[in-house]
Amino acid sequence: MTDSTETLRKTPLHALHMELGAKMVPFAGYDMPVQYPTGVLKEHRHTREKAGLFDVSHMGQAFLGGDNPAKALERVTPADVQGLKEGMQRYGLLLNDGGTIIDDFMFTHLAGEKDLYLVVNGATKEGDFAYMADKLKGQATLTPKPGRALLALQGPAAGNVLEKLSPGIATMTFMQVRRANVAGCPAIVSRSGYTGEDGFEISVEGKDVEKVARALLADPDVLPIGLAARDSLRLEAGLCLYGHDIDETTDPVEANLVWSIGKRRKEAKDFPAAEMIMDEIANAVSRKRVGILPTGRAPAREGTQIADKRGNVIGHITSGGFGPSLNAPVAMGYIDVQFAANGTEVDLIVRGKPNPARVAPMPFVPNRYKRK
């Protein structure tokens, strides 16, 4: 592993980030904008108030082809892939044979198309694609699309903004996906995102992404938003960041992601480590991912120990920081299941001192997805 800038990859928008004055950091092997001159707090709040544009081209995009790619994909995920209707997208977990989480990803059934469209995390994409190709060999063919770029347009103004560049797009609802032209460029557009706000993800060819990004940024409601605000937005929305809140040491039950396991799949018990996972669902687990709200102002960062009121360590924080929309610190982490009930009072050990906090329901900021 090296962070030296020469080895970092660049997205097709790298020059635009520099032009916009972004502060760049290494992330998932790419040189990525962590913030723009606007600053993290304003970027975060602007996304919740108007619309923010994120370059997420580091994420892995691929198509999965074959006779029945949905059936094949179910070998490595407990999600109901075969039941996904045309024109829709869904969230899934990529599981190893032991039932722990290799990655989380989105899969899409484009209308009239046989191949599934997949989006996985940037830091894990090579491993994910190798794993899928190996596990699905002979049943489905995975074709990574490294030449594609991905933009996220997030916030309450996103629908009106995108409508101007892609007439008719505003009629889409949460988790719908379609092919459409955006600013004259062919795109795959989904009404989804990772901020808890209404919004879109727009996949285009790398050669077209700067044109699309500039067209979006020309709208007075849109500001470019960096990774730091993306992180605080998703944390307030209670969404997991792979490699922090979920990884190959956590399973879907501990991670509180059982909702992503299809009903049909639970009944059929036909996914990786199904016996273990179904047993955990029925008989509980030893620890669980929960939301944590510190009582005071001090943020509790990743790795902070969670203690009970007698000082015994009962868990740890996996994501934590300041929530600009709540104007308060927010966190999530894993806690012994007997302490996982909402409202349970705990202490966070920050700089050696117990800081009071309580277990709290997520999302911390209500979702504002466009459901109809």
Partner: protein
């Protein structure tokens, strides 16, 4: 007549008699980005030069603030608890962190002058 000195940890110290006021520099505030939490020391606490005295957290990370000179804390800036953004708005004024009494002038004189600090920042 007060004098101001700076440290390579990006703190400033203003000395009035044997009382010092300490904060972080404009450069430090810019590097940190939006400050969201400040923990200042309580009055009566004794700190040595270079000792951890306060904590400043931006959206990104937590950083320690060291006492550039030794002394006894007379006051922490209580206003920063409710308005940590003052550190960004006026780092070398309203955004001060804490005050010390009993400060040794010789210790203070060893620190960088404004011109030296500006040169130091330029070289970073």
């Amino acid at each position: 007549m007060s004098e101001v000195r700076f440290t390579d940890q990006h703190e400033w110290v203003r000395l009035d008699g044997d009382t010092a006021t300490i904060g972080i520099t404009k450069h430090a505030a810019e590097q940190l980005g939006d400050v969201v939490f400040v923990e200042v020391p309580e009055a009566g606490r004794k700190v040595g030069a270079g000792g951890e005295a306060a904590v400043v957290e931006s959206v990104k990370a937590a950083s320690d603030v060291y006492a550039p000179v030794g002394g006894e804390v007379t006051e922490g800036n209580a206003a920063l608890a409710d308005e940590p953004a003052k550190v960004n708005a006026d780092p070398e004024g309203d955004g001060w962190f804490f005050k010390l009494k009993g400060v040794n002038k010789a210790e203070f004189d060893k620190l960088m002058t404004k011109a030296q600090y500006d040169e130091f920042v330029k070289g970073l």
